[in-house]
Symmetry: C2
Subunit: 219 residues, 2 copies
Amino acid sequence: MESGSRRVGRPRRLSREAILRSAERILTEEGAEHLSMRRLAKDMSSTPMALYHHVKDKDELLLLLLELRTGRLPPAELPREPRERLLAGARSLHEMLATCPWAVDALTPDGRVSAPARRIVETMIDAAVDCGLNPDRARHAYGVIWNYTLGELLVRFNRERARRQGDSTPWERAMRSLDPVAFPLLAGLGGQLTEIAGAGHYQRGLEAVVDGLLRQGVA
Amino acid sequence: MESGSRRVGRPRRLSREAILRSAERILTEEGAEHLSMRRLAKDMSSTPMALYHHVKDKDELLLLLLELRTGRLPPAELPREPRERLLAGARSLHEMLATCPWAVDALTPDGRVSAPARRIVETMIDAAVDCGLNPDRARHAYGVIWNYTLGELLVRFNRERARRQGDSTPWERAMRSLDPVAFPLLAGLGGQLTEIAGAGHYQRGLEAVVDGLLRQGVA
DNA sequence: ACCTGAACACCGTTCAAGT
DNA sequence: ACCTGAACACCGTTCAAGT
């Protein structure tokens, strides 16, 4: 809403919205490693310090960007059956965050970074209760699912990053130097990493995790 | 072993070992955020570039530090019963990495960063096979356990970091602004976070994850 | 062979001043 | 009220030179 009093002082050239738009563009077009206050200012033909008039600091900027992205997704349609609802909740949390590799630090606590995320988390715990867990166990179950989800995202993000910057990360090196005689089973993992990281992988693991939690809770 | 030929050129003042010792000290006494090539050089009364004669770059330095730490732990005694062996393997991986919050990036791929870690991973997959999973499923199971473990570590690390630097992270703020009427179950999580992150939490979740995976695999 | 010094190309943020 | 410019206190790394 417009303020009743007339504006005073210098007219604004920047705005929080414009800043977020520019930041979002750098993020998608050039990747998080190129998003800096200085770079962003240059992009907007302004100075670094002008930005600090619209956001508290870089942390706040990233948080706002995260809320912007996760808030844009349409609210998930959740099935009625409680186990399915729990699975669907986890999947949409996973999906929602899969586009924000740069926000891992903000994500870590528990996935409650934006209003839509909060809704999903609440729904998941609720679904767990409907599956027969008491509230404490339901919250614990959510925590385990969150840990699994975050771990999966992290592995995925880092692999993508490695791919982008030409392949030879510590992990790739360790993989190549692995003796397949001493480590026959582990060596198999190496060749499979791509497939393992594929679309169905998270889902299949998630079902195991959820079923394990539900059995533990109702036993 | 000593080289047969006499040393030529300038005598060395630095050595990889001395560098690692200094870095290790900074890491434990001041935290990872204070470990920089410049700081490290200053600590050793040398120059940043002297370090590059002994390690390729900062990434390699961190990797060496990780191997140093994880390699120091005594090899875990693993129980004979396969399910227990799988659990014990995961626990010792978890324990081993719990002291290296600064190495998350190197960890991400799959926990095979050091020789002892490789042994444990191989043992875990082997244990999963002994539980009745085929090698593919066993590897997948390991992947899920790793994701869960890594996620748990990450949440733990970030919470500790938040504690250290005075409490008010994005997550804490989001927690305070949470409406307990709209989110009764989620709000409960807030109050419980410390307990949930306690010692038994990882273990309890791990059992659920493992049992879920085993059931999925042998069904 | 091992080390130094200066330089390059960056960071986030503070502070005092301008309009 | 909003923005600028200069400065502070850092980064990792390259490159040419010294002993």
